[in-house]
Amino acid sequence: MKFSCVNLEHTVFNRTLFQKLSAVFPENSLTGIIGPNGSGKTTLLKYLAGITKPIKGNVYINNKDIHTFNNRERAKKNSYLPQNTFISYDLSVLEIVLLGRAAHQKYFSLWSDVDKKIARECLKAVQLDGFENREIKSLSGGEFQRVMLARMLAGQTENLLLDEAITALDIKHSLAFLELCKKLCENGKRIVLVIHQLELAYRYCDNILLLGLKNGKSLFGETKKIMTKKNLTLAFEVMTKHEKDILSFYSAK
């Protein structure tokens, strides 16, 4: 399956956040979207997920515009995790993961054993076996995000689009989460994630999409080629240093 976007553009109050943004996301790759606050990362991810329609530009799956698919077909190609998920009522972990299979269901059918089996396998894949009957509100932040990942996996989509999935996690759980993503990519998934932790993006992402350069310019390419001292300094307005493959940052002044 091919996944790409061509000439995407987004403007807020006459300020162009990005324009002429084109990218081809290779199979089995982990792509990080980085950029300062307000550079349009979340908007871009929603465009890629196909849940909002861009004013200019197109997103393609197998050279077919994503908005020519109907909602259900699209939901079988892309799954999306928003920045915050707030669940008002208490549901069990298994019930939440099963919701990821909504697009595969007929209107009046109940969850089948196949669905439940898939949901359990997905929980296993995120190392949460045994959590099926736990109440969702009793989970820690790291466990919750892994349940969300299992929910996405249950949809059996090739593309997973995650918005700041690790922003609220501590370093140990962030590393574990990214390791998991890496493993999923090796097993046929294509992951695009918005990420703020530049050091981690540098370590884990195959490709980087950098936003927040002047005049809505953006850069897409291999991580090492994009996350250079010069580019990061321009986009984030901080001093960047490379020390033996580790990034460090200093205030611009």
Binding site: K46, N78, D90, A102
Partner: protein, 339 residues
């Protein structure tokens, strides 16, 4: 106990059904007039020695339709409440926040004041249904077409505020007409007196449609647990869900308000109790809140029927039971820092 119910859903719902049925039989023996369970069973089985006897007409023409109507209305209110709380993702929402019952009330009060309500038995229900439809159209024009959930909530509250102000205004203009005022007040308090099979016949179709609709929507409501954006990414259109949810609520609320007036709090408390007992998954929650609502209102009606000396409106009884439960829930949530 709660975890037992969680694990044995079908057993629980069957037990509820069984108890509910026994309770229904029992309720037919209660009230003015000495009637035994044997006589009730005799009437229901159809072998009654004297077909026109007082017992027969009391059970078959008065108590049975009234009990069934109470159950049907309770079921509607419980179901509509579950839909509304599911749409708003907020346990404090109830069908009243959509203003549907007040819309129905405005039309009925107007009908009573204009004196057209006594022209035929169906006038008042017809006006109530019209009012609910009118409110639905208003909500559709203002928000359902394009806006999100908060504007739906706010316009619902605004619409019900306007309608209740109009009711107060209409009442204050008529305050000297004692008879009209009494009639309006009685209708507003909710009323299950003087009901017969014809009322059941009127509402059975909209209620069945609404309940079927709720089953149809149950997975959409479940997916909404994850929020609008995630729902959209899972192929579920939240606008379509809101539209249908409000539409089915309008059918259920319109139908029940049409025959019984405003019965408060059932729509708020029943989904709550059901959720506490069975969990938040709508596949289970919707059937359970229907059953629970039916027997809750039947019980309320029995209470107001056995207090012979004075008239107890079911609206007041539900609020008297419902409001303390509501307070308890709010306080409990407050302690857990959830509200």
């Amino acid at each position: 106990m709660i975890s037992f119910i969680h694990k044995n859903y079908f057993l629980t719902i069957s037990i509820f059904f069984l108890f509910g049925f026994l309770f229904l039989l029992l309720s037919l023996t209660l009230g003015p007039g000495e009637i035994t369970l044997n006589q009730v069973l005799g009437v229901l089985a159809g072998y009654d020695s004297a077909n026109n006897s007082l017992v027969h007409s009391l059970v078959w023409e008065i108590r049975l339709p009234r009990a069934l109507l109470a159950m049907l209305i309770g079921a509607s209110l419980g179901c509509a409440g579950t839909i509304t709380q599911g749409i708003f993702q907020n346990p404090l929402a109830s069908p009243n926040v959509l203003g549907l019952s007040y819309g129905a009330a405005v039309f009925v009060v107007l009908g009573i004041i204009l004196g057209i309500d006594e022209m035929a038995l169906y006038i008042t229900p017809f006006l109530a249904a019209l009012g609910a439809i009118f409110t639905f159209v208003l909500l559709y024009l203002f928000t359902l077409r394009s806006a999100g959930i908060f504007s739906l909530l706010l316009s619902g509250i605004a619409v019900s505020t306007i309608f209740s102000a109009v009711i107060t205004l209409l009442l204050s203009l008529q305050i000297k007409d004692y008879e009209v005022t009494i009639k309006v007040m009685q209708w507003l308090m909710g009323n299950l007196e003087m009901k017969s099979w014809i009322h059941l016949k009127w509402i059975i179709i909209p209620v069945s449609l609404g309940i079927t609709g709720a089953f149809f929507l149950r997975r959409n409501l479940d997916v909404l647990h994850l929020g609008e954006e995630t729902a959209a990414s899972l192929g579920i259109s939240f606008r379509y869900t809101y539209f249908l949810g409000v539409f089915f609520s309008a059918l259920l609320i319109g139908a029940s308000t049409a025959v019984s007036g405003i019965i408060g709090f059932v729509g708020l408390v029943v989904p709550h109790l059901a959720r506490l007992l069975i969990g938040a998954k709508h596949t289970k929650l919707i059937p359970f809140s229907i059953v629970l609502g039916a027997f809750f209102l039947l019980a309320v009606d029995v209470i107001s029927r056995v207090t012979l000396k004075f008239y107890l409106p079911p609206g007041a009884v539900t609020s008297l039971i419902g409001a303390p439960v509501f307070l308890w829930l709010v306080q409990k949530n407050y302690r857990n820092h959830k509200v």
